[in-house]
Symmetry: C2
Subunit: 208 residues, 2 copies
DNA sequence: AAAATGAGAATGAACGTTCACTCCCAGTAA
DNA sequence: TTACTGGGAGTGAACGTTCATTCTCATTTT
């Protein structure tokens, strides 16, 4: 009884967020009006406002969902047999397999976090979370002797995040960008940065 | 006479663009109103509209200026004695030396180009220009035998641009990001990607 | 005088949000 | 069964505000 009530509410909220995601990905935050979202969600404004108190709350809700998803993807990588393999899987998952809409939405959130202080705080929380997980990954790998141990892990984590941002942005801004094609270069580059210099790295394939 | 007229007009336009840049960097495109810009430029709306026909035209004007500046910075690098040195200089100029406002503005333009088709076209023109110049740099370096010659230059150019975007975004989104600290890692990484494998690369300094 | 330059109030559209109201249905008393 | 009722779900017109843009008129320059 009570359960189903709460469940229904939660489902409805999820539906609304789905609709909002579509609108935001299509038109951006500012150009997607509440009316648009209401239309997409097949719902009147008044009713929508019973589930979310403001447009900003929609954005926040979407952020939270993304965070949950990001965290989940890290859990998957933790189980990879070897560090670079896991990293490659994570990169592929985040940067190649994502749909246009997901990338667009991510770009939108990043852009928005530059202006709305509340969103900025939320987003930076997520960033910190992700950064910590990356640092954890690196530390673990260093412990297992899979990467060089004289690295500034903090700076290395920054580099990895920066690469992620860069690929994500390039995808969302440059229609001719081919993530699939560039990813191997990136991974080779990262390997060069992180791998122990002892075992001489093989030449990365360039001519196909 | 006629010259001074045109000059005055041009100066006035530049002043307005300066004011608009400040406003846009501070508040973003959508939240910076024309009134704000008028205030910053110490000018009435009616008068401002005599110099620029729309808000979008302001954005376009700013884009053009940035393009001109970017092109100029490439000319400087072309004169560097050696490829990696030139690249490092370019990176420093674009990613470390830039002011907060310039980075913010760049982010704003990128975000806006995702929305406004006209801006998108303009921005992609600039991107293409820059990409061509990077490709030219790489080709030249390959010709001089300064970098390996089995590279996919197109993909390598993508990687370099992606790194630039990534650093730029990280700067504008993450206040704790220290470009100065990360740049050496990035450069070492790029060197690993581009340099000829013959001469064994020295270990990049990590522990400071 | 004529043209260029400037000011600032006015305009109209778009937007997020609210509010008064309707609809639907489970529960219950007759 | 039927009639009543309380409240959550849902509606959509309206509100107040903001904003880009335009209009009208004053001032300065040629």
């Amino acid at each position: 009884m009570l359960e189903t009530k709460a469940q229904r509410q939660s489902d409805r909220r999820a539906e609304i967020l789905d609709a909002a995601e579509r609108c935001f990905a299509r038109a951006g935050f500012h150009r997607a009006s509440m009316q648009d979202i209401c239309g997409e969600a097949a719902m009147s404004p008044g009713n929508l406002y019973r589930y979310f108190p403001s447009k900003e709350a929609l954005i926040a809700g979407i952020c939270e969902r993304n965070r949950a998803e990001a965290v989940a993807s890290f859990a998957l990588v933790d189980q990879a047999p070897e560090f670079f393999e896991g990293l490659a899987g994570l990169a592929r998952h985040h940067l190649v397999d994502r749909t246009e809409d997901e990338v667009a939405l991510c770009a939108e959130i990043m852009a928005e976090s530059r202006r709305h202080p509340d969103i900025a705080q939320l987003y930076q929380g997520i960033e910190k979370d992700i950064r910590d997980r990356i640092a954890g990954l690196l530390k673990q790998a260093a412990g297992r002797d899979e990467i060089r141990n004289d690295l500034d892990l903090d700076a290395a984590a920054s580099v990895l995040m920066l690469l992620g941002d860069g690929m994500s942005w390039r995808r969302s801004v440059d229609p001719s960008f081919d993530a699939e094609k560039v990813l191997p270069l990136i991974l080779a580059m990262v390997r060069g940065l992180l791998a122990k210099p002892d075992r001489d790295a093989p030449a990365h394939g360039a001519k196909s």
